[in-house]
Amino acid sequence: MVTRYIAGRVLAIVPVLFIVSVVVSLMVHLTPGDPVKVMMGQSGASAEEIEQIRRDLGLDKPLPVQYVRFLQDLATGNLRSIRTHQPVVQQYLELFPNTLQLAVVSLLIATVIGMLLGVVAATHQNSWLDSFSMAVGFLGVSIPNFWLALVLIYVFAVSLNWLPATGAGGPKLLILPAAVLAMEQVALIARLIRANMVEVLQEDYIKTARSKGLQESSVQWGHALRNAMLPTITLMGLNFGYLLSGAIIIETVFARPGIGRLIVEAILNKDFPVVQGAVLLTATVYLLVNLLTDISYSLIDPRIRY
């Protein structure tokens, strides 16, 4: 049963990836004007050079041929940046760990703070603590993360000089970016934990635990939280999308190397091959993460089967 479910979910990804890959490979032709001229920009390439580049990139061939060639180039590492001539896949894989590091650390921070806020809010329902916790979370999704990043840089790096502002490296350089990225997640996690805990706390087995004489803290943390956490796992998978989106901006503001910055710079430079490769790879990763989340959720909760 489980394998059928997994197989079904894996198969469902294939048409989606196909559509994404087709759109990505052919999207250069959606540009108003000539794609090659757009890519070359102001570099003053002659008409001959432009035609040569067009032939090199295979943009004069029929669309299906271009699609196949795009996939081939991607697989063999022949898809190269217009600017640096580096293979896109290689660049992406080199930079991915940086972004992953940022994402994981910020997810951890957000989960810890989010759980605290959520549990506090649920156990003191409708008190000022509840409102406060939820308000903090709410503010978190309303503040623009690039502004918060700049404000934190100003406070901690410029004024107080406690932390370095830009670049990559050790843990010190990770704190500010991870904190900003975590802020957006905190609201979602806190809200979800609160909603689930409130439901769970009203369940019968909680009353049983209490009447057994268990300490309140054991009831809350042991029984209630464990069950309330189930949907949070799914949320972590969905959060990955937000993490990626956030990472794009955060990496740019903090000048951290990573795929976010790679993509932004490629877009500003009209480096289409890099954009194509990076978007397709990112979409693949995202789909896989969602798939894993779905599968793990169905394994944890036997009631979820299709």
Binding site: P15, V16, L17, I19, V20, V23, M27, V28, L30, T31, P32, F138, L139, V141, S142, I143, P144, N145, F146, W147, L150, V151, I153, Y154, V158, F240, G241, Y242, L244, S245, I248, I249, T252, I263, V264, A266, I267, L268, K270, F272, V275, V279, T282, A283, Y286, L287
Partner: protein, 306 residues
């Protein structure tokens, strides 16, 4: 018969489980008044709504409120806030207060137009997919899945990469990023309504498909679309500002909050006011929009006591 368990559509449409959403027009006026009453009791939503109204007024009356030309240069470079310049001046001597005021126009346009695009196309897709089902449904939903495979801002960035920079492109880009949410909600609503007995009855009386859509499905779709729209406006403003901050959306010398932040960044040390006020403006706007969206959603959820 429809299953009598509350699902997501019930929550958003504000119906009790099993109750056809909005089929009986006699009670519809009654329900709208009830919703408005509940909304009025939601203090934070009222505050948010008030802020939005003020912002709209500011946007409309910008030329009367702003004391200076927003793109007018002067020699008063990087002046701190004072009587003559309420929010100080930037590195080109432009009055920041005037630029923030005019920026309200740009950001509100972004929020409303992007969501209008998303709502229109998303609803249309959801309606068609849900009503006709089968192959059409599968194809459309695969496209929607493909759109969702690329996380939020990355999708907007990619569209901007292809279509070029500029405010109008950014509006389209953000709109496209939000289409999946509308499409899915409307489709699930259509599927739910299709199971209702009165649809069978209408069809057996000879109603055509289009007539069924217009008379029964669309009125029901209004509520969830409205909730999603109000939740989406805040997000659209945020993403729009982020795009401009990255250099991909509105372009200088337009007075737009995101651009003001990216331009003001280099003067962080000497002139904190260049960064502070645009960021605050974005936060207040997004916060207000989110408050209204949340309030609307709570007011329409019959399970929440207000």
């Amino acid at each position: 018969m429809a299953r009598a368990t509350a699902n997501a559509v019930d929550v958003i449409a504000g119906t009790a489980p099993g109750e056809p959403a909005g089929a009986l027009t006699r009670t519809e006026g009654h329900r709208k008044r009830r919703v408005l009453r509940r909304l009025a009791r939601h203090k934070s939503a009222v505050i948010g709504f008030g802020i939005i109204v003020v912002l709209i007024v500011i946007a409309l009356m910008a030329s009367f409120i702003a004391p200076y030309d927003p793109i007018g240069l002067s020699r008063n470079i990087l002046q701190p806030p004072s009587g003559g310049h309420l929010m100080g001046t930037d590195n080109l001597g432009r009055d920041i207060f005037s630029r923030v005021v005019y920026g309200t126009r740009v950001s509100l346009q972004m929020g409303f137009i992007a969501i209008a695009i998303a709502a229109t196309f998303g609803t249309a897709m959801g309606l068609v997919a849900g009503t006709y089902g089968g192959f059409v449904d599968t194809v459309l939903m695969r496209f929607v899945d493909a759109l969702m495979a690329v996380p939020g801002i990355l999708l907007a960035l990619t569209v901007a990469a292809v279509l070029g920079t500029g405010l109008h492109v950014a509006m389209i880009a953000v709109g496209i990023a939000w289409i999946p949410s509308f499409a899915r909600i409307v489709r699930s609503l259509v599927l739910q309504v299709k199971e209702m007995p009165y649809i069978e009855a209408a069809r057996s009386l000879g109603s055509s498909d289009t007539r069924l859509i217009w008379r029964h499905v669309l009125p029901n779709a209004f509520t969830p679309v409205l909730v999603l729209s109000s939740l989406g406006v805040g997000s659209a403003v945020l993403i729009g500002a982020a795009l401009s901050f990255l250099g991909v959306g509105a372009q200088p010398p337009t007075a737009e909050w995101g651009i003001m932040l990216s331009e003001g960044r280099q003067f962080m040390r000497s002139a904190w006011w260049v960064m502070a006020f645009p960021g605050l403006a974005i936060t207040v706007t997004v916060l207000a929009a989110n408050l209204v969206g949340d309030g609307l959603r709570d007011a329409l959820d019959p399970r929440i006591k207000l």
